[in-house]
């Protein structure tokens, strides 16, 4: 493999961002694997994903290069969106892209669509959006990270419950060896931190149920880090920072969000006044800020997050 390196940053809004290195060969390999995984061959790509992030780089640059097709980058979900002249178009989607996929523009253009989705969970509107097409687009969801690249894929169909994740061809699932546990994967495409040696495997923060050697079901995350607008936000750090600033107990409750993948609610105990000023203290805007006299507690006196999540 060549030593030409490309950097990708896990852009944390809490804590120090981490820079990960990948070689050009790794990027080309990932592009080849993902191009192969597409069941059909589009003749143009329209990407809504930021090419500074790995997902956007792979599907917005590497895959089109391998397929020998042009790519058009959309800078904002608000547009402008100019459809390339193509009979079969690959749309590289993020959570917010699905607002644009409801547009009548697609029907007017008449192109066949293939959609790949990454950089966050599918929005709740997916079934409705796919049902709105005369011919439902072939839709694939990608599971991965800056550190590991694309790890697994699954097909998405309107009205059909999501199936298991299936590993990309060159990925091995080292852990869990059976049942439930943290996901550790091995492949030639694992990134390494700047200044550190290349690595062959990576232990993620994802919790999974191993179904067989090539598939798993995602059950949650070990840490309290959310990806909001593509930026990692450690809720524990936000709580600590706000708690120190306010001199009060603070709870941050994650909520799924159709546009940003995730968002969170901030609940502050024992502070009075207009809560909106708290927004100025946090690096990633929460969905809501609420002041309460008391936070629900468990029998051990800890904040009852399960109660808050209801």
């Amino acid at each position: 493999m060549t030593s030409d390196l490309v950097h990708f940053t896990t852009s944390g809004s809490t804590g120090t961002p981490v820079v990960w290195e990948r070689t050009l060969d790794q990027l080309r390999l990932e592009g080849e694997l993902m191009a192969k995984a597409l069941q059909s061959r589009p003749d143009a790509v329209l990407t809504f994903a930021d090419p500074a992030h790995l997902y956007g780089r792979i599907f917005g640059m590497e895959v089109p290069r391998i397929l020998g097709v042009p790519t058009t980058q959309v800078e904002s979900v608000l547009g402008p969106v100019v459809l390339p002249d193509a009979e079969h178009l690959l749309v590289v989607a993020c959570p917010s892209t699905w607002k644009v996929l409801t547009s009548r523009m697609w029907a007017r253009a008449g192109a066949r669509l293939t959609i790949v989705h990454g950089a966050g969970p599918m929005p709740t509107s997916v079934d409705r959006v796919l049902d709105g097409f005369d011919v439902p687009p072939e839709t694939t969801e990608v599971f991965g990270s800056t550190e590991c690249g694309g790890v697994a894929l699954r097909r998405v169909q309107a009205g059909v419950a999501p199936g298991p994740w299936r590993l990309v061809d060159d990925v091995d699932m080292l852990e869990p060896e059976s049942g439930y546990g943290r996901l550790r994967v091995a492949s030639q495409r694992i990134a390494h931190r700047v200044g550190q040696s290349p690595r062959a495997d990576f232990l993620t923060e994802d919790l999974v149920e191993r179904l067989d050697d090539r598939s798993f079901r995602h059950t949650g995350r070990r840490d309290r880090t959310l990806k909001i607008d593509g930026r990692r936000c450690d809720l524990e750090q936000v709580e600590s920072m706000l708690g120190a600033a306010l001199g009060a107990d603070v709870a941050c409750v994650p909520r799924p969000d159709d546009l940003r993948s995730w968002t969170y609610d901030v609940i502050v105990e024992g502070v009075v006044g207009d809560p909106t000023w708290v927004r100025g203290l946090v690096p990633v805007q929460p969905r809501s800020v609420e002041l309460r006299e008391t936070l629900p507690r468990t029998s051990r006196g800890k904040i009852d997050y399960a109660e808050l999540a209801r």
């Binding site: 979900v77 608000l78 607002k99 409801t102 009548r104 607008d229």
Partner: protein, 93 residues
Amino acid sequence: MTSGIDTIEERLRACLSTVVGEQGRSIARDLSLRESLTSFDSLAAAEYISHVEGEFDVEIDFVIHDVRFRMSTIERGAEFVRELIEDGEALLS
């Protein structure tokens, strides 16, 4: 029944304040939301538009309706929503 522009603007501000807090209620009607409001990026704008759809029971096409322009100020947004409401009423009559 057609809603008055003032009422529509008031309701748009309520939608906007859901996303950006109290600054959404006080912004001048002709000022660019993108340039005047802190943290009002494209996703915040999309979120605002989603709230507007729910508030007025209208469907906004992000591409065909040129939302970047038509929802760029409170004033333009109110005019746009009024048109959508009237179009909907025309379909029903």
